[in-house]
């Protein structure tokens, strides 16, 4: 059992700018911990978390997998990246932040190099107009079906993942899991549901995608 990363350096002032870890964050960490053995045995070199927020999940991953991997974190919120780096430092792990949209400026050089890809996207169903800010709303505003941000990443996942690479994704029921599974299978990516949890009105799941033709 790995303890949750120390986020005592963060306070309510920070959470005006960055997503405060909540049930979705904890579910993702629990799912990664569940898969610890298979993650470790794959000996990942490059890990990328898109939308790192407070950095708690990348920190947790880095604590579990250790310093043999390189941890990149992206977010479109500049505050999130400063905070992410501090969270890494607070927990003695090295996180490498890049202010960029999804994986955009990294995708070409990281083509087929990402061993662990993580995304806890803005999944809340909101009007489309709320999507695309760079402030705190970007942490949850997912637009139609809560999918507008995620749908921009999905077609690129197969290009980002290494042959043994794995993609962990947090969704809620409204995001239409079956539809996501169908989209990803077109790219020869197979889905498993690692864990699900109900948190108030949200039915959360962590999905895992791997190549079915590595």
């Amino acid at each position: 059992m790995f303890p949750t990363p120390d986020i005592s350096h963060l306070n309510s002032a920070d959470y005006q700018y960055v997503y405060e870890p909540a049930e979705d964050s904890f579910l993702l960490m629990d799912a990664l911990e569940k898969d610890l053995q298979s993650l470790k045995s794959a000996r990942p070199s490059v890990c990328l978390e898109i939308g790192c927020g407070s950095g708690i999940v990348s920190t947790f991953l880095a604590q579990m997998l250790g310093p043999d991997s390189f941890y990149l974190c992206t977010d479109i919120n500049p505050k999130a990246l400063e905070i992410t780096r501090n969270t890494g430092q607070q927990n003695s792990v090295l996180l490498n932040p890049v202010l960029t949209d999804l994986a955009s400026s990294l995708a070409d050089r990281l083509e087929n190099k990402i061993d662990v890809l993580l995304f806890n996207p803005p999944y809340v169903v909101t009007p489309s107009e709320e999507v695309g800010s760079s402030g705190i709303e970007a942490a949850w505003a997912g637009g139609v079906n809560g999918r507008e941000v995620l749908d921009r990443l999905l077609p690129d996942v197969h290009r980002l993942l290494s042959s043994q690479g794995v993609f962990y994704l947090v969704i809620i029921k409204e995001n239409k899991q079956g539809d996501i599974e169908a989209i990803m299978s077109k790219y020869q990516l197979e889905m498993t549901v690692v864990m699900s949890r109900r948190s108030g009105p949200e039915h959360l799941s962590v999905l895992k995608f791997t190549r079915n033709n590595p």
Binding site: V46, R85, L94, S105, L106
Partner: protein, 126 residues
């Protein structure tokens, strides 16, 4: 921004740019600090690097030292070499400065060690 990270960034996200690597560095503040040496990690990262781009970047900020510009065979077991590579990849950080697209000249700010690769809407390649 560590030089390892810099080696992973391109400006091909800009409309019309296809040769956006490596980004030129104009550094106004570079920090060198101590990072734990993990030879296994360095040996595994080197094959993923564009080595000449790494050397070029290091040289441009005066941090190349005596890092060889060509990889010797069996570098994975050369601890002296791995230490030098470790230094350049992980111990050198550009805190403030700019990254410049080699094709379009577009500048990306590095502030507090974080490169800002966000584009304006009109610049985005579709």
């Amino acid at each position: 921004m560590k030089l390892l990270t810099h080696n992973m960034l391109t400006s091909n996200i800009i409309k019309g740019v296809t040769k956006g690597f490596p980004l030129k560095i104009a550094a106004s503040e570079v920090k060198v600090s101590e990072v734990d040496f993990n030879p296994e990690f360095i040996a595994r990262m080197i094959p993923k690097m564009e080595w000449s781009a790494l050397c070029q970047a290091a040289e441009s900020i005066g941090q190349l030292g005596d890092l060889p510009k060509e990889l010797a065979p069996e570098y994975e077991s050369d601890e002296e070499f791995l230490k030098k590579a470790h230094h350049v990849l992980l111990e050198v950080e550009v805190k403030e400065g700019e990254l410049i697209c080699p094709e379009s000249g577009r500048k990306f700010t590095i502030r507090n060690g974080i490169p800002n690769m966000l584009l304006n809407e009109e610049e985005v390649a579709k």
